[in-house]
Symmetry: C2
Subunit: 352 residues, 2 copies
C-alpha cells in the first residue's frame, strides 16, 4: 500500500510537502505550483489513497460512526439502515455496522465501537428497555460518545429521530371516521415496542378527537404474530358488537387480519375496513390492496445520521444537548377501506 513517503522519495521531497499539497494547504505553506502539480500527478499515478487510520490517530478525530441495528431482515429495517448510509454520502464519515438481537449483543457491539473509537452511535431499530437504555447512555457519556435512536422511548435524554406514530394513527382513524366508521378496533404489536405503544396511544387519542368511543375489548394484542393476530380477529368478530374497521400496528398483521376475515366469510372492505402501518410490499400486493400509514424510514435513517454529524461538529457546549425530531407519517389509501356496511346487511357467512 503506497504512502506519503513513497511519493516524497520518488520526487525527492519530504512527506510534509506532499501532505500539504494533497490536503490543499500548500499555498499557505508557500509551496510552488510546479511542485504541487508534480506531487498531485505522482500521487495519482502511484494510486495513493491516504490512510484514514493514520489521519485519525494524528488528528484525534475518528470520522467513524457505529451503527447497531435490529430488524435487518425486514423491509423497514433495511430501509432505515439504507437511509443512514445515504445520510453519510458525501461526508467524510463512514459507518461500522453490527447487527444486534439481544441486550448482550447490544453490549458487545458497544464495546467494539468504543474500541474502534467511533465518534457516535446510531441505535437503529434497537428497542432497549428503559433500564438498558439508561445504562447504555451512562456508559457512552463516560466516553463522550453521542448516540441517536429511532424507535425509542421519548423520555430519554439522547438524540432521537422518530416517525410520527401518534399522528399516523390519527390520520388512519380520521380517514375511517370520515368514511362513517364508528366502531374501530386496534390490534397492537409487541408490548415492549415503542412504535406499537405510540400507535396505540395515537389511536386512543384519535378516537377522542373524532368524537368516537372505544368499544368493549376493542384493544387487542397481536404481538406481531400471525397466530395471535388471527385469534385477536376471531375474538373481535365474535363479540356482540363487532368493529366495522380495524387498525393494525403493522402491515403484516393487517394482511393476516384480511386473510382471516375472508376465511371467516367477511368481505374486506365491505364488511370490515382494515388499515396497516409501514407500507410494505406485502400490503401493496394483498387482495384487497392494503390501506396503510407510511412512515419515512429512509428519511429517518438519513436525518439520524445528519443530526449526529451536526452534533459531532457542533461546539463542545452544544454537543451533548439532547434533541429530538419527529418526521410526519402519511396515509396511503388503497382498497382495504370503504364505508361501513349498513347494520342490516352485515352478516357472518361461512367460508366457501
Amino acid at each position: 500500500m503506497i504512502k506519503l513517503v513513497d511519493i516524497a522519495e520518488q520526487l525527492g521531497l519530504s512527506r510534509v510537502t506532499v501532505s500539504a499539497v494533497l490536503n490543499d494547504r500548500y499555498k499557505s505553506l508557500g509551496i510552488s505550483e510546479a511542485t504541487a502539480k508534480r506531487v498531485i500527478k505522482t500521487a495519482a499515478d502511484m494510486g495513493y489513497r491516504r490512510n484514514e487510520m493514520a489521519m485519525s490517530m494524528k488528528t484525534g478525530k475518528s470520522f467513524l460512526i457505529g451503527c447497531m441495528t435490529g430488524a435487518l431482515g425486514l423491509e423497514w429495517g433495511g430501509r432505515t439502515l439504507e437511509g443512514a448510509l445515504l445520510g453519510l454520502r458525501d461526508s467524510v464519515y463512514s459507518m461500522k455496522v453490527e447487527s444486534v438481537h439481544s441486550e448482550a449483543e447490544n453490549n458487545s457491539a458497544i464495546q467494539r465501537f468504543i474500541g474502534a473509537r467511533v465518534s457516535s452511535i446510531f441505535a437503529c431499530n434497537v428497542n432497549p428497555t428503559l433500564e438498558e437504555a439508561a445504562r447504555i447512555k451512562e456508559q457512552l457519556s463516560r466516553y463522550k460518545i453521542l448516540m441517536v435512536c429511532n424507535n425509542c422511548r421519548q423520555d430519554l435524554s439522547h438524540l432521537q429521530v422518530d416517525p410520527d406514530n401518534f399522528g399516523g394513527s390519527l390520520l388512519a382513524v380520521r380517514h375511517l371516521a370520515e368514511l362513517g366508521h364508528k366502531h374501530i378496533a386496534f390490534i397492537s404489536g409487541d408490548g415492549r415496542s415503542n412504535a406499537s405503544l405510540m400507535r396505540k396511544e395515537g389511536f386512543l387519542g384519535a378516537l377522542g378527537d373524532c368524537g368516537l368511543s372505544l368499544g368493549p375489548n376493542f384493544l387487542e394484542r397481536g404481538n406481531w404474530d400471525y397466530t395471535e393476530t388471527e385469534e385477536a380477529i376471531e375474538r373481535l368478530m365474535s363479540s356482540k358488537k363487532a368493529p366495522t374497521a380495524i387498525l393494525c400496528a403493522n402491515d403484516e398483521m393487517a394482511v393476516v387480519a384480511i386473510r382471516r376475515l375472508q376465511h371467516l366469510g367477511y368481505s374486506v372492505p365491505n364488511d370490515v375496513s382494515i388499515i396497516g402501518f409501514t407500507n410494505e410490499r406485502l400490503g401493496q400486493l394483498a387482495n384487497p390492496a392494503l390501506t396503510t400509514v407510511a412512515q419515512p424510514e429512509v428519511e429517518i435513517g438519513k436525518v439520524a445520521i445528519q443530526l449526529l454529524i451536526e452534533k459531532i461538529e457542533a461546539p463542545e457546549s452544544e454537543k451533548m444537548v439532547p434533541e429530538s425530531r419527529v418526521l410526519p407519517s402519511t396515509l396511503i389509501v388503497r382498497e382495504s377501506t370503504s364505508r361501513p356496511p349498513k347494520a342490516s346487511t352485515r352478516s357472518r357467512k361461512r367460508a366457501s
Copy 2:
C-alpha cells in the same frame, strides 16, 4: 478516552508493561503476577479499551472488511447483510458498510474502502457488468484487497458464494412435473441479473431433465416489474396453448401473477400453478400461499465473510486463489401448486 500511558502512569509502569499484560503476553516477558493483577484491575476500573486504529497502524493489519451492498430495502437484501454481520461475530474483524446503486457509487465505495485500509471487500448483492467487475478486480488486486461476491457471474476469478439458482429451478420444475404438468412457462427478471439468468438456465435445463419441451413463447420477461409481469401473464394466457404452470424468477412477480390470473378469472392453483423464488413474507401471506424456492441468503452472507476471513488468514501463496461455493436451495410447497386441470374443464372465466 483513556489510553495505555494513563494506566502506566497511575501505576508507575511503562506502557509496554501494561500492553504486555493486557495482551496476555506478560509471562514470556517475565512480568510478575502481582503487577499483572494490578494492571488488569486498574484497566478495568478506568474503563480502558484499546484503540484498534493504533493497533492496526502498528501491526499493519486492519481487521476491517468493507461491504458494499445493494437491495437493502428488500427482505433478501437485508438478510444477506444480516448473514454477513453474523459471520463476523466472535471474530476480531469488523465491517464498514456502504450502500450502492450504480457503477459510480461502487467506485466511490471502493475508494473509501481503500482509504480505510480494509483487508477485503464483500460485494453484497451488487450486480456489476462483466466489464465493471473486471475493472474492480484489477484495481483491487493492485492493492492486494480480496473480494467476495454473491449474485455474480460465475466466470470471474474472485471469491464467490452463491445460492444454487440452477438447482432451485430444477426443484421447482420437478415438483410441477411430478404433479403432472407438461406446459410450464417461465417469467424472468431483469436481463442483467445473474440470479434471474441462472434461474432461467436452470428452468430450461430442468425441462430437458424431466422430458418436457418448451412451449412457444413460454419464456416471458417480467423485469421484476408489476406492470410488465401482468402483461407477460396476459400474453401467456391468451395464447392458444396456455401454460398450466408458471415459474417466476421471484416471489414478487409470482404474487403479481397470482393476482392477475385471479383477476382474469383463473383459479390458482386449480387452473394454473405458480412458483416463486426467494421465500419472502409476501408469498407466505398471499392467497393462495405461494409455493417458492427458498434460498439461504443469511447463510450466503455468513459463508461469504467466513471465506473471506479464511483467505485473509491463509498463507500468502493461497491468498489470491479464487474459490467458489454454492449453497443449496430448497422448495417450500404451499398452496399455489396442484395438479393441472383436465384439458376439458379448463376455461377462461370473467372476473367477478
